[in-house]
């Protein structure tokens, strides 16, 4: 039995209330952080713990914090990225709905470390319960001296506000998220300058994911060595895995980083629904699919990257042998086409074109040249757009073509989808 860390309060009745959180020891870590650590020591602690960003990129959190110029005299902002919209992902929603105070405690620790005066929690607009729970928890924290002026008599002051999204996947990209908070269309910006130097309103800004921030109270409480001892050395810590699709026990699983995909599927999630696995998308639809034969792989940043995929948001979508890969690829490209912000031509036009070709293939009207056309489009989109949205689309489609070319060919040869 694995110890629950991030989900340890989730089954407690009323876990979203301050009283329940404090009964379970909540807010002791931030008290300790404010009393016993300098900001610099906290940054070192998080670096030593080896915490890497849970939003998808896996960038070391302490290193990111370290990029914020010290004592520049400028205001520093923290943004909590809660725009969880990567298809297949529902972990941040679970944390915000059931343990919003853990998120706030994490925010406070991060804010103190980087010297931020204000945090904006960017929550996707569809998450009405998350928004309500986070707003209620923020209000509770203010009225109990855990937010606002002179928190816990430490001399540290901090404000937290929820900024509600309004239905745009691209807001999860950090520069787009900042544009959105500034009241603009969410279109990614060129980096550098990186947000740590010039972010929100042109001031130093750190953007951290909900799950990343939620790890912080535990690191302060139990130490860097404890965190580092969980999972692989270069990618440690507890991790939330969202399992969905054609699987017997879909759900949210907390297991050590690096747990094998096979163990996650077979021992925890009950295995593929039909009993015969075809492929797994390991990290939301942006992550290239992995064929059934290759699932003896660690679910961590480095192992999946080495295998040509990525951990991403750990949205694990299971495809058993009843799933049509062409249809899945089509739906993924329709998604990226819909969510492309329209700024870069390769992404805007390429995704639309690829979706059109895939629609034709799935309808049984595909031709041999279509496969070359798709490969050409993948090449044209990849690496030629401002942000990672276009890359993800091309990468994802490329993996389907590489591993399941025979299925695409069958659609052409049979003149129809073999599954529908």
């Amino acid at each position: 039995m694995n110890e629950k860390v991030l989900l340890r309060n989730i089954d407690t009745p009323g876990s979203h209330n301050l009283a329940a959180y404090q009964t379970a020891g909540g807010y002791r870590s931030v008290a300790s952080a404010l009393a016993d650590f300098t900001p610099g020591e906290l940054i070192e602690l998080v670096k030593t713990a080896g915490l890497r960003g849970r939003g998808g990129a896996g960038f070391p959190t302490g290193v990111k914090w370290g990029f914020v110029p010290r004592d520049s005299g400028k205001p520093v902002y923290l943004c909590c990225n809660a725009d969880e919209a990567e298809p297949g992902t529902f972990k941040d929603r679970a944390l915000m709905e059931n343990d919003p105070h853990m998120v706030i405690e994490g925010i406070l620790i991060a804010a103190y470390a980087i010297g931020a005066t204000t945090t904006y929690v960017y929550i996707r607009g569809e998450y009405t319960v998350s928004i309500e729970r986070m707003e209620a928890a923020i209000a509770e924290a203010y009225s109990n001296g855990l937010l606002g002026e002179n928190i816990l008599n430490s001399g540290f002051s901090h404000d937290v506000h929820v900024h509600r999204g309004a239905g745009a996947y691209i807001c999860g990209e950090e520069t787009a998220l900042l544009e959105s908070i500034e009241g603009r269309r969410a279109q990614p910006k060129f980096k550098p300058p990186f947000p740590a130097v010039s972010g929100l309103y042109g001031f130093p800004t750190v953007i951290n994911n909900v799950e990343t921030l939620s790890c912080l109270p535990h690191i302060v409480e139990r130490g860097a060595d404890w965190f580092n001892s969980i999972g692989p050395e270069r990618s440690p810590g507890p991790k939330l895995y969202c399992v969905s699709g054609l699987v017997r026990k879909p759900g949210l699983y907390e297991l050590p980083m690096g747990t094998s995909l096979r163990e996650l599927l077979d021992e925890h999630a009950g295995g593929p629904r039909s009993g015969r696995l075809k492929a797994v998308i390991p990290g939301g639809v942006s992550a290239p699919m992995i064929p059934a034969n290759d699932i003896d792989i660690g679910m961590d940043f480095d192992s999946l990257a080495a295998a040509g995929s990525m951990l991403g948001s750990a949205g694990v979508i299971v495809l058993d042998d009843t799933a049509c890969i062409v249809r899945v690829a089509l739906r993924i490209m329709e998604f990226f086409n819909h969510e492309s912000c329209g700024k870069c031509t390769p992404c805007r036009e390429g995704n639309a074109w690829a979706a059109k070709v895939l629609r034709r293939l799935e309808a049984g009207r595909g031709q041999r040249e279509d496969l070359d056309q798709l490969a050409f489009l993948c090449d044209g989109i990849f690496g030629n757009s401002f942000c990672a949205l276009g890359d993800a689309a091309a990468w994802s489609l490329g993996a389907a073509l590489k591993h399941f070319r025979d299925e695409f060919e069958r659609h052409i040869n049979d003149g129809k989808c073999p599954y529908h």
């Binding site: 009405t128 309004a166 908070i181 603009r184 969905s244």
Partner: protein, 158 residues
């Protein structure tokens, strides 16, 4: 725009460095009180925040959840992304189209229902899922959808 909405928007604007940042929260608040975010109301928001109207217009037309055209009393948003698709969401979309006699994107003539298919709602472990106004409805099948439609109609009669 009602006075208390204006007050709320001004209060929210105080949380940001610029009044432009309050455009999204303002539109979300105003949308709860009007049929749609039409040109006049966008102008009012712009005046209240003291920003050019185009700034408000470009935000209102970029984000999916802002409606510049009226939607029904019950806005049914059915997820059809991969996990829901694998749980037969497409069949449910067709079922809803048949039951409501509208195609996706449309609104029933009585203004009761608008049906749209949407991207992932972040509830993939309970697929298929739809959002109706502010509420999620999970683990759907045709029967459950039929029951919900009856329930919504009854809510309107009371």
């Amino acid at each position: 725009m009602q006075e208390h909405v204006k007050e709320q928007i001004n209060e929210i604007a105080g949380r940001y460095r610029t009044r432009r940042s309050a455009i999204m929260p303002a539109l979300a608040l105003v949308q709860e009180t009007v049929d749609s975010l039409h040109g006049d109301i966008l102008m009012e928001v712009a005046n209240l925040l003291d920003v050019p109207e185009i700034w408000v217009f470009e935000v209102a037309t970029f984000y999916e959840m802002f409606h510049t055209e009226p939607v029904g009393k019950f806005h049914i948003q059915l997820c059809t992304n991969v996990s829901c698709m694998l749980a037969q969401a497409e069949q449910l979309a067709q079922h809803l189209e048949t039951k409501l006699q509208i195609s996706r994107g449309g609104t029933t003539p009585d203004g009761m229902f608008t049906l749209t298919t949407v991207e992932c709602l972040g509830s993939c472990n309970t697929a298929p899922v739809m959002m109706v106004n502010r509420d999620y409805h999970e683990n759907l099948d045709e029967q459950r959808i039929d029951d919900l439609l009856v329930q919504f109609r009854q809510q309107m009669e009371h």
